[in-house]
Every structure is written in structure tokens, then in C-alpha cells.
Symmetry: C2
Subunit: 139 residues, 2 copies
């Protein structure tokens, strides 16, 4: 049986992007769908995987410009593998730093929530400010 292929509307639903966005990504050189005799786009299961990967990259904070560079390197063949690996590594390091920062902020948020709980059930004296309370966690 021939490989599955989808027109833009169906494909859009499949990958969770709008047709607009798919055409936009194509404009930007990120996707290269096939065309039938009438110029209508056809996407294959390969394209599903590729868009899926794009979404993973975007999901880790990669920008369109970096993505474009990545695609150019990919198109240039195996000689660019080391460079592509380095790009992904950088994205990974950055994303891990983002997570660490986010968790740091979350920790303060958590303390504030606990402080509110203390205020609500009066286990924290009325006079104790959040700033005072926070001092207890300086480590």
C-alpha cells in the first residue's frame, strides 16, 4: 500500500497547527511538502515526524531563526552533523538553565503560599511579614 498522505487541512489537525502556520513555516523554509499535479500540497508520515520534531525543538525554546539555521545545516548533509549536535546541545543547556531558574522562582512562590496558609490558620503571627518569614529558608 502506498504511503499515507494528507492535504493541508487534514495535516493541520493532525499536527495541531493551523494551515496558515504550515504555509508560513514552508515560507520560512522549515517544511517542504510534496505537490500534486494541481499544485496542491501533500504531506506524508515523514512530514508528521519532522513537524513533530520541530515542535519538540520549539518546545525547548528554540527560535525560528535557529530552526532555519538547523534546517539549512540538515540540507547540507552529513558533514554538518557535529554542528547540528552542537546547536541542540546549546538549546538543551539553555533550556535546563531555564528550568532551574523557573524552579528557583517556584520555590519562592511555594513559600509565599505557605505563608498565606499560615496567615489563614493563624499559625504565623500577624506581625510576621513574608520577608521575615523567608529568612528562615536562607540556606
Amino acid at each position: 500500500m502506498a504511503e499515507q498522505h494528507y492535504r493541508i487541512g487534514e495535516f493541520a489537525k493532525l499536527v495541531g497547527l493551523s494551515s496558515y502556520t504550515l504555509r508560513y513555516y514552508e515560507d520560512q523554509g522549515l517544511i517542504r511538502p510534496q505537490r500534486d499535479g494541481n499544485g496542491v500540497r501533500y504531506y506524508t508520515t515523514q512530514d508528521i515526524r519532522w513537524v513533530g520534531f520541530i515542535l519538540h525543538l520549539k518546545g525547548t525554546g528554540m527560535r525560528l531563526n535557529e530552526l532555519k539555521r538547523y534546517v539549512r545545516l540538515r540540507a547540507a548533509g552529513d558533514s554538518t552533523i557535529a554542528e547540528r549536535r552542537a546547536m541542540l546541545q546549546q538549546v538543551k543547556v539553555d533550556a535546563e538553565a531555564d528550568i532551574a531558574e523557573l524552579q528557583m522562582h517556584l520555590q519562592v512562590l511555594g513559600h509565599k503560599i505557605d505563608w498565606y496558609d499560615g496567615k489563614i490558620d493563624h499559625s504565623i503571627p500577624d506581625a510576621e511579614s513574608f520577608h521575615d518569614y523567608l529568612q528562615k529558608f536562607q540556606d
Copy 2:
């Protein structure tokens, strides 16, 4: 000794925001600095703490609009503590979901990096696509 206070330029450096942004935040009702007889803004150590907390909230993904609402509740007094707590709790839950998603994307990214490593040192056969390779981690 009187409490420390800073003019906008100094304060900006102190908290890592621009003077523009500080005036903008004031416009938006997030900060209420004092003024001297000439109308010049003065920020106190209290303001440092408050801006610090704002930055924690922003750092966890809270939007200016939510922040404004939070500030309004705060100004309304202790009767809004439960509501404020609920807001922070929601922000926390959302941020934790963001982290989980980010980590999921990062995992794929990590696999891709490993796959590149395999390609570079030829421990992965040339014929094995990333998609094939990924199947090994379906659990």
C-alpha cells in the same frame, strides 16, 4: 539611621530593570514609589523586596494582567488573602506543567543528541533513522 532610599536610576540598576520599565510598571499600578518635594521618585528597601517578588512572579510565567489583579487584591487588604493564595497556587500549577512539558521536549532532544553521537562515532548504523532509534525508548 533613616531607611535607605534610591532614585530611579540607582534603583533600576539595583533591581535589574530600566528606568523606563519602572515608570511603566508604576503606570500599570504595580509599584507605588514615594516622591520628594520636587516630584522625584524615591524607592525604599521595601520596594526592592516588592519588585523582587514581582520578578519571581513574572519568572514563573505570571502575566502583567494577573499581576495587576494580584496588586489590586493586595491593596484591598487581608480579606483577599484566600483569593491571592488561589492565584499563586494556579500560577504554580501552571508553571509546574510548563516544566513537565519542557522536560518531555528535552528528553527527545537528548535522544537526538545521543543519536548524533552514534552517527559521529558510527556506533549507530548509517541506515538507522532517528525515528527508528527513538522506538527503543517507547515506554
